[in-house]
Symmetry: C2
Subunit: 405 residues, 2 copies
């Protein structure tokens, strides 16, 4: 008997940003946050976990490379918590259940997007890890309960336990048991939400989000105001916008919160910068694109958001993606052709040189050299973690990653 399960989990990109911990061990945040889960058809982490009494110890391979599992590190904590749940929720209640909690595990994880893309893989990675172990252990747990474990691996990972539109409620308890992810709306509620990720070239080493956010907590005078007075209001506003499928309101709050996250990073000593001149220019393009849209219809059509790096994620409704790809390509010529997963340009033989919409003031940004935006990834709102068939397993019969075989 082989005890093994494989799961995949999605990336999520926050609209209301998580920045600051009130407990660094349990990873309890200083404010609630909210994200959109992106489709696993395009970006995902996949993880296979196997429990076997013949294994000598817990081992993990990330993209084929073994990573040490150091207690009491984040990885060790997640695995230990899930083993404990296996024992308490399954084995202690059913004497016939195999004692998987006592077996060492081998875990192989793989991200289908390059690390160089600068997309945070820790959220999808920990969500896939937790999902595969939960499947292996047959845990009778809701995604919210699993999110409590994923959160201890990487805070934002808890939001990748759901598809659609997801809130991470900060919670108030010291033990973190109420700091978990909940579904605000499923993907099916508002499936028209698309995202265009602009992968921005950067020659600077950024500040890691783990160390950066704690420097902000310690030194920013503005962060406390954000936490207490701004985020609670914005959480309500964006939840209402999602429920009403009001893209204009969604976009307004999303952009304001991206700006404010980077503002408190800048208010840190020494200041933290994640956006560069390319990021700034993409903002200028989206601001102008929205200005034209507001003039015509009274409503915004796109929302930029930036995490702890220079990459832009542009949220927009499906009907506008083509215009926005053309806009970005005009200012940021692409070396490689645009991968067109939704076949926007199928009838036109590709995206071409790009163009701006009527009434757009082209002087708001300059045209950059090829490579300033290294790539464009078009995706959309997606579902939550998936348990995959055995044929998708990343571990071979010998319990070692297939890619190493």
């Amino acid at each position: 008997m082989v005890y093994q399960a494989t799961a995949s989990a999605p990336v999520n990109i926050a609209c209301i940003k998580y920045w600051g911990k009130r407990d660094t061990k349990l990873i309890l945040p200083t404010n609630s946050s909210l994200s959109v889960t992106l489709s696993q058809d395009h970006l995902r982490s996949t993880t296979t976990s196997r429990a076997d009494p013949s294994f000598s110890k817990d081992r993990l391979w990330l993209n084929g490379k073994e990573e040490e599992i150091v207690a009491p590190g984040r990885l060790a904590t997640c695995i230990a918590e899930l083993k404990k749940m296996r024992k308490e929720l399954v084995e202690d209640k059913d004497a016939s259940a195999p004692k998987l909690s006592t077996f060492p595990v081998h875990i192989a994880s793989y991200n289908n997007f390059p690390t160089a893309a600068g997309l945070a893989s820790s959220a999808s990675g920990f969500a896939a890890l937790v999902s595969s172990l939960a499947a292996l252990y047959a845990l009778p747990c809701s995604p919210s309960t699993l999110s409590l474990i994923a959160r201890q691996g990487s805070g934002s990972a808890c939001r990748s336990l759901f598809g659609g539109y997801v809130a991470w409620e900060q919670g108030v308890l010291d033990d973190g048991s109420d700091s978990l992810a909940v579904e605000v709306a499923p993907r099916s509620h508002w499936p028209e939400m698309h995202a265009l990720i602009c992968v921005v070239s950067d020659d600077k080493k950024g500040t890691s989000s783990t160390s950066g956010m704690q420097r902000t907590v310690q030194t920013s005078e503005l962060l406390q105001h954000r936490i207490k007075h701004v985020v609670p209001k914005r959480m309500k506003e964006i939840e209402a916008a999602i429920k009403a499928k009001d893209f204009d309101a969604f976009a307004k709050v999303t952009m304001a919160d991206s700006n404010q996250f980077h503002a408190v990073a800048l208010d840190t000593e020494p200041p933290i910068f994640y956006m560069n001149d390319v990021s700034r220019s993409i903002i200028a393009l989206i601001v102008e694109y929205n200005r034209v849209a507001i003039e015509k219809t009274g409503k915004r059509k796109a929302a930029y958001t930036y995490d702890a790096g220079p990459n832009a994620v542009i949220y927009t409704l499906q009907e506008n993606v083509k215009e926005i790809v053309e806009l970005i390509v005009k200012y940021f010529p692409q070396k490689d052709g645009f991968k067109d997963p939704f076949q926007l340009f199928a009838g036109e033989g590709g995206v071409g040189e790009g163009r701006v919409v009527e009434g757009f003031n082209e002087a708001v940004a300059k045209k950059f050299e090829v490579g300033a935006v290294k790539g464009l990834i078009h995706t959309n709102v997606g579902d939550g973690p998936r348990v995959l068939d055995a044929e998708e397993a990343l571990l071979g019969p010998d319990g070692l990653p297939k890619s190493l075989a």
Copy 2:
């Protein structure tokens, strides 16, 4: 009899930033601010004012080009206020005083620094205008009283009425009569304060500070916290630092407030960016330079500050300027030689290729192309407005600017 006076006034660079008006007509700020006045030996505005009953109307030339004086604009307001003071404080009290308040004036003003340098000339310009008219009208007024007028031309101009270290107290009265500049310490108290201005090339049109600050007032959630809770504390801290000549404390507050000003600009809708990648790299260099200094002596040796543009102003004590010039030149090679007004490199035939101090981590920034920093201006703390001799006048015998003759 020719009624004419010429005055010059200095540039000032704020350490605690002015950003936001509570009254846009009277130019009353939402918070107090504090600046260092820079030497007129290097940067200055010079203005000649002449009153003559034969003139047909008030006229003004800026750098030789006539500018229209439109009532109730800022220029017209300043001139009208000064004429009113002439009448009330001089002519109404002394019947023999010539009725200059009834004569039209011709005003010629000249900045000795190029507009392209991106240095705000409105502060020194309005301070020189007010100083020359005050001299022409023989107004028995303190610099603080004149600062009330200059403030209505351009807010930060009020701080250029004093040399040394100058606070602009925001005031509480609706008529603005308590919103004025006061001397915190004269230049002679701490003459070792030097400044290095890095003129940064930028291909973007910035947002004007007048419109930008009001957008921040209207849309930034963080500005109110800054105004109410942060600035009052920092004003006390920096005044104490100046009085104690504590450069480390001065630098800490100055950098934090520059960061916070740019943070609230970024928290604006749409966001306002004044710093670019070059600005960010200069910050990284100063942060690293200070890290080395703190490791050696426990104290910071330099403070960056940025106004509404990409230029850096680096405050440091005289003894450190040479090191900092060498640091900047190493990362930002200069096309034109460094003008060396204090003869730092007199014995070495110029600044050379630059270098970093021992222990400096050179990887904190990349070396830029020639021209990224277009120029370096070395100056120091200076005195307040000066009334100049007749031979310095900018108006010719015909009452028109000499440069046009």
